[in-house]
């Protein structure tokens, strides 16, 4: 029997040895001698933290309880490694390109550096991992208790709890020492990884040794074991396809999403080519780990007393056979499984907690405007150390308060389902550019809530979190909300039920919300870089010399750093390299330095990609990368430009169509005008020609007729002359070529002259007496500076029109005058019928005679001429509606407008 003291001593020696390995590896890394530390073998072995105490001890227990089901836990990761290696490669590439530090960082980065998502994933990871850490502590404690069982005084029950405490303290110490020795930008921990790789070997050797002992030491070889398996109740276990599929899916998802797996697989991975070996070696490792699970379980069930815990067969079987050394090795294997998991999980979680929760809080608590000084590193390290302590402390607390009674495997599964909630967002983020931040948060919260309600809370229902009533009748008494029978899906295995509903709702919410929300520019940019990571990033290698032209680098740097600063940087480097030239050699050291300089301006990922483009000639052009980096700004600008363009186009189209209408109108007007001119000219000419031919050809005309016909010819000639005068006048006025003769005039004088002329002009002799003009001479006593003759021409036109067209029996024209600001308004209104409203707009058009031409005598140009005159005088003339008869208003400025 191994004495407890020896156990403790071996344990301590083992721990000291691990410290030594970690210390040695860290020192080598610090010296830059990384060769085997970065080897694919170490990487593959480090992945074995997937096999925790749960698999080391629990797999046998699981096999004893549920037959082959334990295989699912190994099948998931195997499928991922074999079938989804491209997904892993993408993850690793993104991790490198984006300097990703944790899975929370990955999700937050992908969705526009959203800290909300970072916090969400961190909380999810902490909640999902805490029971798992508790599980490891429990397994270590249990394994101690196995050895202490037969000891009398040395190890009391109370010491079990203190064992867990001491283990927790030891693990915290180790993790703090090697996990936060320094702050590496890449978050790599060579010491820890090396120690873990060593522990992986111990685990495997321990389990294989126990297995070999069981097969060849207890049983009589493989044939006997197979016979025993056939005879045991395990052979009777049936494979339940639904549960198997769910569990395989779950372990695959967890393999991708577990924070500790992400830590070793992506963050600690220095070279994505490591995946090539891991792709076959890790499945092989898993296979070896599972090889003897069934034999141990079968033999354990055979040999061990009924009621002994099958979870501990790996330990108790050798002990019962008196193989103390083997038991000790087995104990160390279990110890290794537990400690490596806790250490890596604590590192991963502490990175997340400190980066997404502690640091943002700390930064926001600082007085605004305070600059971040050099002590930031110490703050970060302290935050990490506190986080590690808190994480392990939480695990310990969970272990203490949960009582440590539940079977190991079930806690593991519950944790897996919780952590797997990150999967939809992770995959969506990697492959779907359209996925949005809000959708990711919504999906995560949905999945997490469903998990809490259907699996996590019921698992501690005994603690009274969910009452029996809720478990049986659903929340608020709704049957559809029963935690283990959502929407009537009763009869399902609780774990399968939780997987199906949480993943389904999680995915649906994520998908649907993505469709209805829009990524902001940063999200869009990150989305492009994540989804197209293979076009936009370099392989994982460092820079090699010679590939890059220094002048290309300079051109690019000048665009980013500014011409002066870039040139300075290059000249300094050239000087340091001892070159006379201004351009340095593009050595790897210089490339790295340049990358750091550029990263300060454009961010590390972009800087890395840009240099990669020039140094290694990737398929993507600098322009493309810049376009990616500028996408956000461009999108904004583009949409602004588009808006402006479309507004401008609209304006131009409107102007064009207006111009077109105007031209069409002008063309129609021109035709009509020519037609009218023709008519107005030909009509008098017709009379002239007809009568002149009559006078010429007929001899026997009466003298009275002769005289009459000659008079007609004379009148028609005058009419023609008047028409030509009007046309010329109109043409001059329309072209603005009129010479105005402005002088000071008195309005009443102008009206006197106009009235006299108008009364004469219509019938030539002014004999008609019934036409009356009413004026108010007090109003008219106004001095204007204007062209009096032109103004008079307008007045004459209006007065004679009134006289010609007023239909009243006793025609009366009232002329009233009013000063309106800088203008004088002169209204001419008669007592006739007025002009119908539909014809009012026409009266100022050329040839717009509304009545028979015969009566009018004019060619219909009078008002058109009036309008042109008033335009030239800076005033207006218009029809004045609303009067009883026909009314026109003339407005004239008191002084001519300044030109």
């Amino acid at each position: 029997m191994v004495s407890f003291n020896i156990l403790i001593a071996v344990c301590l020696a083992y721990v000291v040895f691990l410290f030594g390995i970690a210390f040695y590896a860290d020192r080598r890394a610090a010296q830059g001698r990384l060769n085997w530390l970065r080897s694919p073998l170490v990487y593959t072995l480090s992945l074995s933290i997937y096999c925790t105490a749960w698999t080391f001890y629990g797999a046998v227990g699981n096999a004893a309880r549920s037959g082959l089901e334990y295989v699912t836990i190994y099948l998931g990761p195997t499928l991922v490694m074999v079938g989804w290696w491209w997904l892993l490669r993408r993850l690793v590439r993104i991790g490198r390109a984006q300097r990703i530090t944790s899975i929370a960082d990955l999700i937050s980065s992908r969705f526009g550096k959203s800290n909300l998502l970072g916090v969400l994933v961190t909380l999810l990871a902490v909640v999902g991992t805490t029971p798992y850490i508790a599980l490891q502590l429990q397994s270590v404690t249990l394994s101690f208790s196995v050895f202490s069982r037969d000891m009398s005084a040395g190890f009391a029950q109370a010491d079990l709890a203190s064992t867990a405490l001491w283990v927790a303290i030891g693990l915290t110490l180790f993790t703090v020492l090697f996990g936060t020795r320094n702050l590496d930008a890449n978050e790599r921990h060579h010491g820890v990884v090396t120690a873990i790789a060593f522990e992986a070997i111990v685990k495997l050797v321990a389990l294989l040794s126990v297995g070999a002992f069981v097969v060849w030491g207890i049983a009589e070889g493989p044939a006997d074991i197979l016979a025993r398996i056939d005879a045991s109740p395990i052979a009777a276990w049936e494979i339940r396809p639904g549960r198997w599929a769910a569990l395989i899916f779950l372990s695959a998802a967890a393999f991708l999403c577990l924070p500790r797996m992400f830590q070793v697989m992506v963050v600690e991975n220095a070279d994505e080519r490591n995946l090539a070996m891991a792709g076959w070696a890790f499945p092989l490792y898993l296979m070896l780990m599972s090889l003897f699970v069934l034999p141990i379980a079968v033999v354990g069930l055979d040999l061990m007393p009924r009621g002994s815990n099958p979870d501990l067969f790996v330990l108790t079987l050798p002990l019962s056979q008196g193989k103390d050394g083997l038991a000790l090795l087995s104990f160390l294997g279990g110890f290794s499984s537990a400690t490596s998991m806790v250490i890596v999980a604590a590192i991963a979680l502490s990175t997340m907690v400190s980066n997404h929760i502690v640091m943002p809080v700390w930064l926001s608590m600082r007085p605004p405007g305070a600059t971040v000084s050099g002590d930031l590193r110490r703050v970060v390290l302290t935050a990490r150390r506190v986080s590690i302590t808190v994480v392990v402390g939480l695990g310990y607390a969970y272990y203490r308060f949960s009582g440590g009674g539940a079977a190991l495997a079930s806690i593991g599964l519950i944790s897996f389902v919780g952590v797997a909630q990150v999967l939809p967002v992770l995959l969506g983020g990697l492959f779907w550019r359209r996925a949005t931040r809000i959708a990711a948060a919504a999906g995560l919260i949905t999945g997490f809530s469903v998990w809490l309600y259907t699996l996590f809370l019921p698992s501690i229902a005994g603690g009274g979190v969910l009452s029996v009533a809720i478990m049986q009748n659903g929340l608020f008494g709704f049957e559809v909300l029963r935690p283990q029978g959502l929407f009537g899906t009763s009869g399902l295995d609780p774990v399968v039920h939780a997987i199906v509903w949480s993943m389904l709702l999680n995915f649906l919410v994520f998908f649907v919300v993505s469709l209805f929300t829009f990524p902001n520019p940063v999200e869009r940019l990150q989305g492009v870089q994540f989804v197209n990571v293979f076009e936009h990033s370099q392989g994982p290698r460092g820079w090699t010399s010679g590939g890059a032209g220094a002048d290309d680098l300079l051109v690019m740097s000048q665009r980013i750093l500014g011409a002066q600063q870039a040139r300075q940087l290059f000249e300094n480097e050239a000087k340091a390299q001892g070159k006379i030239d201004h351009l340095p050699d593009s050595s790897p050291a210089f490339l790295e330095r340049l990358e750091r300089e550029l990263a300060g301006s454009v961010g590390s990922a972009t800087a890395h990609a840009m240099i990669g483009q020039i140094a290694e000639g990737a398929s993507v052009s600098v322009q493309d990368l810049m376009a990616v980096a500028d996408e956000a700004a461009e999108i904004m600008e583009y949409s602004n430009q588009l808006e402006a363009k479309s507004a401008e186009l609209g304006r131009t189209a409107r102007q064009l169509s207006e111009a077109n209408e105007k031209l069409t109108r002008l063309s129609v007007q021109k035709d009509a005008f020519l037609s009218q001119i023709s008519h107005e000219l030909r009509t008098p000419m017709t009379s002239i020609r007809a009568f002149s031919e009559i006078l010429r050809d007929m001899d026997m005309l009466e003298p009275h007729d002769q005289h009459r016909y000659a008079s007609i010819i004379h009148d028609e000639t005058l009419r023609l002359t008047r028409l030509l005068d009007d046309l010329l006048d109109l043409s001059v006025l329309e072209n603005g070529q009129v010479a105005l003769n402005c002088e000071t005039v008195v309005l009443s004088d102008v009206l006197d002259r106009s009235a006299a002329a108008a009364l004469v002009s219509v019938f030539g002799d002014g004999s008609e007496t019934t036409f009356e003009i009413i004026r108010n001479r007090n109003q008219e006593d106004l001095q204007l500076i204007t062209d009096g003759d032109r103004l008079s021409q307008v007045f004459i036109n209006l007065i004679s029109n009134a006289r010609k067209y007023c239909t009243a029996a006793q025609p009366v024209l009232s002329i009233s005058v009013a000063v309106m600001g800088q203008n004088v308004a002169i209204d001419f209104s008669d007592n006739g019928e007025g002009i119908p409203s539909h014809q009012q707009p026409l009266v100022f058009e050329k040839f717009a005679r509304l009545t028979d031409h015969a009566r009018a005598g004019g060619a219909g140009l009078g008002l058109a001429i009036c309008r042109e005159i008033m335009n030239n005088l800076g005033g207006t003339v218009g029809y004045l509606p609303g009067e009883s008869g026909t009314a026109f208003r003339v407005t004239v400025p008191l002084k001519p407008p300044a030109t």
Partner: protein, 122 residues
């Protein structure tokens, strides 16, 4: 005694000239000065020939011609149109409506008399 010609024209001096010319040539000349009541004048005077101006107050000569051609009684009545606008599209429109003769103002007196005689004999 002579045949009747109806002259639909609003310009008094032109009416006087044509009346003089046709009366001397043996026609009985009736006149009408508006477009809107021209068809009633045709009904009233039952002319053997019509001389029709295009630009008439209230109604255009084209409309009057169209109505004349649409009515059974006046379908074949000779109509000579006079226009002062002198555009080819007016002539085309008049021919389309079935004018017998189209003449542009100003016209030669001999042409006018010859044309009316020709129409009357046809």
């Amino acid at each position: 005694m002579g045949k009747t010609v109806l002259l639909i024209e609003d310009e008094p001096n032109i009416v006087e000239a044509i009346r003089f010319l046709l009366a001397r040539d043996g026609w009985r000349v009736e006149t009408h000065g508006r477009g809107d009541t021209a068809l009633e004048a045709v009904q009233k005077h039952q002319p053997d020939l019509i001389v029709l101006d295009v630009m008439l107050p209230k109604r255009s000569g084209f409309d009057i011609l169209r109505d004349l051609r649409a009515s059974q009684a006046t379908r074949d009545l000779p109509v000579m149109m006079l226009t002062a606008r002198g555009q080819t599209k007016d002539r085309e429109l008049a021919e389309q409506y079935g004018v017998s003769r189209f003449m542009t103002k100003p016209f030669s007196n001999t042409d006018m008399i010859a044309a009316v005689r020709e129409l009357a004999e046809a």
